[in-house]
């Protein structure tokens, strides 16, 4: 038979590697989610900001740049070069470019670029967390995965924000709340509730995607599989063990989040 029980007992002698790999995978995913979420919030705020450094072009007093600001009949322009320059938001442009580039390139390429490109020039201390996590591999892994998932989470949060009825903002602003207060107290709480399933899904994706970090030497579950394969040429059995471990991580995670989702939606029901 292709899969043999005795091969599992060989794998069992590598139990410590799998155990450490499991811890690495969990920590990697947790740090990635935190980093990715903070990055995503920053990206969302950039994309939705009203930072328009060229807006003065459209507001200078008539007579100075009046020609640009008003059309022949004295109306504010709503088209043309000056109008669009005035609307240009460099923060939003940068954030959008970042999101689109990160979403349109393979995560493997991104990890390689971060590890061999960026962290080539940054000397990371080579200590070991908990005695077995190599920080100079682990940290670039977190940065690369976090940058990638930040782009996806940004889109998720943005869609959540845009799903909130415009009347909510109008009500908040007409009560005198500033835009930032509106975002903090009205929009974000409702948006996060709506996108919780998508965020949970993204977390599960990160756990699975973290397997790719073995390519830069992060000793996660997948690295343990590679170690068994390299030493004994047994491949299917360690892969099955890895499959079981990943499933045991991802499946309960999505169930736990589904539970909190039900609890949070209580205010919506009679």
């Amino acid at each position: 038979m292709f899969i043999q029980m005795k091969n599992f007992s060989v794998v069992a002698s590598y139990a410590q590697m799998f155990q450490e790999g499991l811890v690495v995978t969990i920590l990697l995913s947790l740090f990635t989610v935190v980093f990715g979420f903070v990055l995503a919030l920053a990206l969302v705020l950039m994309r939705m900001s009203s930072f328009r450094p060229f807006l003065w072009l459209a507001h200078v007093s008539p007579g100075v740049f009046g020609f640009f600001e008003r059309d022949g009949s004295g109306m504010k322009r709503d088209s043309g070069f000056v109008y669009h320059l005035g609307r240009f938001n460099p923060l939003s442009f940068l954030a959008t470019a970042y999101v689109e580039i990160l979403r349109s390139t393979p995560v493997l390429v991104q990890i390689m670029i971060i590890y061999f490109g960026v962290f080539q020039f940054i000397d990371l201390p080579s200590f070991k967390l908990f005695g077995f996590i190599r920080f100079n591999r682990f940290f670039p892994g977190v940065v690369a995965l976090g940058m990638n998932s930040g782009a996806y989470l940004c889109e998720i949060i943005r869609s959540g924000v845009q799903s909130i009825d415009g009347g909510q903002s109008e009500a908040a602003r007409s009560l005198g709340l500033r835009q930032s207060q509106n975002f903090q107290y009205i929009i974000l709480p409702q948006a996060l509730k709506n996108i919780l399933p998508a965020i949970a899904n993204e977390f599960v994706v990160i756990i699975k995607e973290s397997a790719i970090t073995y390519t830069i030497g992060v000793q996660d579950i997948m690295a343990a599989v590679q170690a068994v394969k390299g030493a004994t040429s047994i491949i299917m059995e360690p892969l099955l063990v890895a499959t079981a471990l990943y499933f045991c991580l991802c499946f309960p995670t999505s169930k736990i989040i589904a539970y909190f989702e039900r609890r949070m939606s209580r205010g919506d029901k009679r």
Binding site: S73, D165, G167, Q168, R173, L175, G176, L177, G267, D268
Partner: protein, 258 residues
């Protein structure tokens, strides 16, 4: 009316879209005095909602001016009493203009009490106890004190709109703007909302009301504005507007709605 002090002066207000292809507002000039109950009527698409929403800059006008409390809020800066140029802070002016929407726009993730105390606490910096006491008194006034802990979804349409009105009142505004406050309500709930508005009018609150309730316009309003195609076509007392209409568009409109 000239004897009363003017609160909002709107001059030649225009709102155009698509390079003037669509003229939602095409030059509206009107003075709103303290204590006025100004009712704006007109066919749909006449620009009455755009006019109302322009008053607290939910719509950014294309041209014209809105002077509220002596400050032109359509400009970015103004001269204060010492002659210094000060930036217009629209959030400050919006605090003084309560707004009630057709679709209530209560915050669904907060209780009724939190809906009402959010702005007084976060914007005016009142402490929670004082804000809640005030909110409960206002809720009591519209008969909803016992629903303070409920969520908006648990209320009927009429109850939601009454909460929306007192939520705006909690900020102690100088003027209340109503954007078709009864249009989304079931017929049997219209009365309870209009009653609250009548009560407000009796207390002397300055109100601008866009509505299709002609009975309300006639009974409560002291000035009625008729708008069509982004223009203010006729203005007068309820008697003048409803009994001796002049403009053919107004006559046509009244023959359809009365």
């Amino acid at each position: 009316m000239a004897t009363r002090d003017s609160l909002i002066q709107v001059t030649d207000l225009k709102k155009h879209y698509n390079r003037g292809a669509i003229k939602a507002l095409d030059g509206v000039t009107v003075d709103i005095n303290r204590g006025d109950v100004m009712v704006v009527i007109g066919p749909s698409g006449s620009g009455k909602s755009t006019f109302l929403r322009s008053l607290n800059l939910l719509e950014d006008p294309t041209s014209g001016s809105i002077v509220f409390d002596g400050v032109d809020i359509t400009k970015r800066k103004y001269k204060d009493s010492q002659g210094k140029m000060v930036k217009v802070n629209i959030d400050q002016h919006r605090q003084k203009m309560g707004m009630v929407f057709q679709h209530f726009n209560l915050f669904p993730h907060m209780t009724i009490l939190d809906n009402m105390t959010l702005a007084p606490i976060k914007v005016k910096g009142q402490d929670r106890a004082a804000a809640e006491e005030k909110a409960l008194a206002l809720l009591d006034r519209v008969g909803l004190k016992d629903r303070a802990g409920a969520y908006p979804i648990q209320l009927s349409g009429g109850q939601k709109q009454r909460v929306a009105i007192v939520r705006a009142l909690a900020m102690e505004p100088e003027v209340m703007l109503f954007d078709e406050p009864t249009s989304a309500l079931d017929p049997e709930m219209v009365g309870e909302v209009l009653d609250v508005m009548k009560g407000l009018a009796r207390e002397g609150m300055t109100m601008v009301v866009v509505t299709h309730e002609m009975g309300f316009a006639r009974e409560v309003g002291n000035r009625v504005l008729f708008m069509a195609d982004g223009l203010l076509l006729e203005e007068g007392t309820p008697q003048a507007i409803f009994e001796t209409p002049q403009h053919p568009r107004l006559k046509d409109f009244l023959s359809k709605v009365l």
